[in-house]
């Protein structure tokens, strides 16, 4: 990661924890997980609480739906680390890799419900252009998606518009497929807190 303090600036107890995780899992902690341990009072603690609420808190959207939203936002931002992480997590959450690949290839033809498809298009538009219109919101509502569901999807979008930027700026190391799969398993078991 950059700047260098994000590689070496952790407290001794945190470094010990990183070492234990490496020993037991056989792989280093991903940079996204490391970052929240650096001066956690400034960013890590409040960021984890918000992201966990958005991704695992009460919602009419399933965990798989929200992980898919995270992947779609990350794709709109062209962030390789988060595309890999959340594509893998969505695939495991749905237990359906072809479905997730189909949505990311072409949401218009993928076999998903209209409401989820419309919501994914909304998040894609918002992330790429920075804004959406009331008319675009009405298009999503017309598919039967509730106002609360849109708010929940916007929280996912906000979480990943932050994380994607930090992943690029701090230069998170992109993992191999096995690394993303292991991270996905952890995120489904423990969430983001």
């Amino acid at each position: 990661m950059r700047p260098e303090v994000l590689n070496r600036g952790y407290k001794p107890a945190t470094k010990l924890l990183f070492g234990m995780i490496r020993l037991f899992s056989g792989r280093p902690l991903p940079d996204a997980a490391k970052l929240v341990f650096y001066r956690p009072g400034f960013y890590g603690d409040p960021a984890k609480r918000f992201t966990h609420q958005a991704m695992r808190g009460p919602s009419a959207w399933s965990v798989g739906d929200r992980e898919l939203m995270a992947a779609v936002v990350s794709r709109a931002n062209e962030n390789a680390f988060c595309i890999g992480a959340h594509t893998a997590t969505a695939e495991q959450a749905y237990a359906d890799r072809p479905l997730v690949r189909a949505v990311l290839a072409d949401p218009a033809t993928a076999p998903i419900e209209d409401g989820l498809g419309a919501t994914l298009r909304l998040l894609d538009k918002l992330t790429r252009s920075g804004t959406v219109t009331a008319a675009e919101m009405r298009e999503v509502l017309a598919t039967g998606v509730t106002r609360e569901q849109i708010e929940d999807a916007l929280a996912v979008c906000a979480a990943f518009n932050i994380t994607n930027r930090l992943a690029d700026a701090f230069d998170f190391r992109v993992l191999d497929e096995a690394g993303f799969a292991a991270g996905a398993k952890f995120l489904l078991k423990r969430g983001y807190q």
Partner: protein
């Protein structure tokens, strides 16, 4: 609302909590005032951030901890503008 409250706690912490930068510096990064090329890239073209951008910022006198704070402020600021714009559109659509 719980999610929005948790988001606001994050924003308040970044903008007003203790840090190595002044609250004014963090506010300028959050607003993307355009004064710092690294922070503007974080907000609007993060895939283009390079090591050289960090080198330039350090050469201008910023410490690594200050850069940590300001990069986060820039990222949270851009995300907040999108979140607010979308919630305003949702309010208009459901009024």
């Amino acid at each position: 609302m719980e999610k929005r409250a948790a988001y606001q706690i994050l924003v308040d912490r970044i903008l007003r909590g203790p840090g190595e930068t002044s609250t004014e510096q963090r506010a300028r990064a959050f607003e993307n005032d355009g004064a710092d090329p690294l922070l503007s890239k974080v907000a609007t073209s993060p895939t283009e951030v390079t090591d050289a951008d960090f080198d330039t910022a350090r050469a201008a006198g910023r410490t690594e901890d200050q850069l940590f704070e300001l990069v986060i402020a820039a990222a949270v600021g851009e995300s907040t503008r999108m979140y607010d714009a979308a919630l305003a559109a949702l309010d208009e659509a459901t009024r």
